[in-house]
Symmetry: C2
Subunit: 218 residues, 2 copies
């Protein structure tokens, strides 16, 4: 069994059946847009693929210093793992565990591809297009955050198998309507998501749709 | 053949036998230290593992704006490849090709692990230790560069196989004394390297040694 099979199957999806408290906030991220919300330590953050086959480029920032942020490479390094694993933390670029993956009904996500940006669409000859990078920068304005360097994303629900020679592909997500992940905040965070607007390759099955953020008390 | 086999073997090492011009600069990076040098567009940059089994954490910056830098995730995204490939460019975080991999006598490198930093050694209970991150920040002082966010490294000669479940390991490098890569600058750059000081795991076979930077005219 190669990595391609592993990453394209749903068999790694895992649900620990965490008990959520009261729903305190619900934020719909409309297709192709971004949103940012404050997440208090101990709260649960549920990210839902509303209609299915939709990627959410996901970010998390230290409210006191937005240059300290969720880092795929530090997460991989700390867990010695290419993938997100239920029960293991996600780390920031100061090597602090900041989120714990509590539930995951999909098990297929990406921590390898950069966020789409205007230059990415330019490669397709499309010079005016919404992008995950600009969505996140736009959403962070509500918090008066300016980023000197844009972080690497955790691309929730993105299906990017790797073959045995290291070739990476992009396939439509395996997530179905209502699939989700639940993350527990290990510290106060500003979390941000973009309902990825990519419609020129299979990232979102050529049909960008909505993402839902829900925040629950413990 | 799984990825583990691929990444631990030398079979992907490739030499296109580029013709180098005059040697214009030679900079020894002593074991556990870092150095930065200016590289002009068109010049060749040879990075040599002098004694063998030594990782070089490698970085490249736009001299006009050091927040524009070599990016493993943009390199992976542009090439649809987990690995460095001879004949393919390395990209910066503005999606520009900045270096072309011309020769590679090893074929086993890492673009997944974060650079070691003081916090990494703290996890081993060692609170005072040289690190790649501080080596690079120190080396960049010569160019008056201050980085608001530290970049992801390209870890030349690092041997970090991935198994079929995504587990990443660290093994001693397969590089031998004198092994090297040659990169051609596609634009003016400040390139920086750290002869990785990690001596608490197999990254450098528990014996950090020297790296050599050589710059040649085309």
């Amino acid at each position: 069994m190669g990595m391609e099979h592993l990453e394209s199957s749903r068999e790694t999806g895992c649900s620990n059946m965490v008990t959520l408290g009261k729903l305190v906030k619900q934020v719909l991220i409309p297709a192709t847009y971004g949103r940012a919300v404050f997440l208090r330590q101990g709260q649960f953050h549920k990210v839902i693929d509303v209609q299915g086959k939709q990627v959410c480029d996901f970010f998390a920032f230290d409210p006191a210093d937005p240059t300290v942020f969720l880092s795929p490479s530090h997460t991989r390094s700390a867990n010695n793992q290419m993938h997100l694993v239920v029960g293991k933390p996600l780390y920031n670029n100061a090597r602090q565990p900041i989120l714990l993956l509590e539930e995951d009904t999909v098990g297929v996500h990406d921590m390898r591809f950069a966020a789409c940006d205007p230059a990415r669409y330019g490669m397709y000859g499309v010079w005016q297009h919404r992008s995950c990078k600009m969505n996140i920068l736009e959403a962070l304005q509500e918090f008066n955050i300016w980023l000197p360097v844009f972080p690497e994303p955790v691309n929730l629900f993105m299906n990017s198998p790797i073959d045995k020679k290291g070739k990476m592909s992009i396939l439509p997500p395996v997530s179905q309507a209502g699939d989700y992940v639940i993350l527990r905040a290990l510290k106060d965070l500003i979390v941000a998501g973009s309902a990825c607007p990519m419609d020129l390759n299979p990232t979102n099955d050529f049909n960008p749709t909505d993402i839902m953020f829900e925040i629950y008390e413990a």
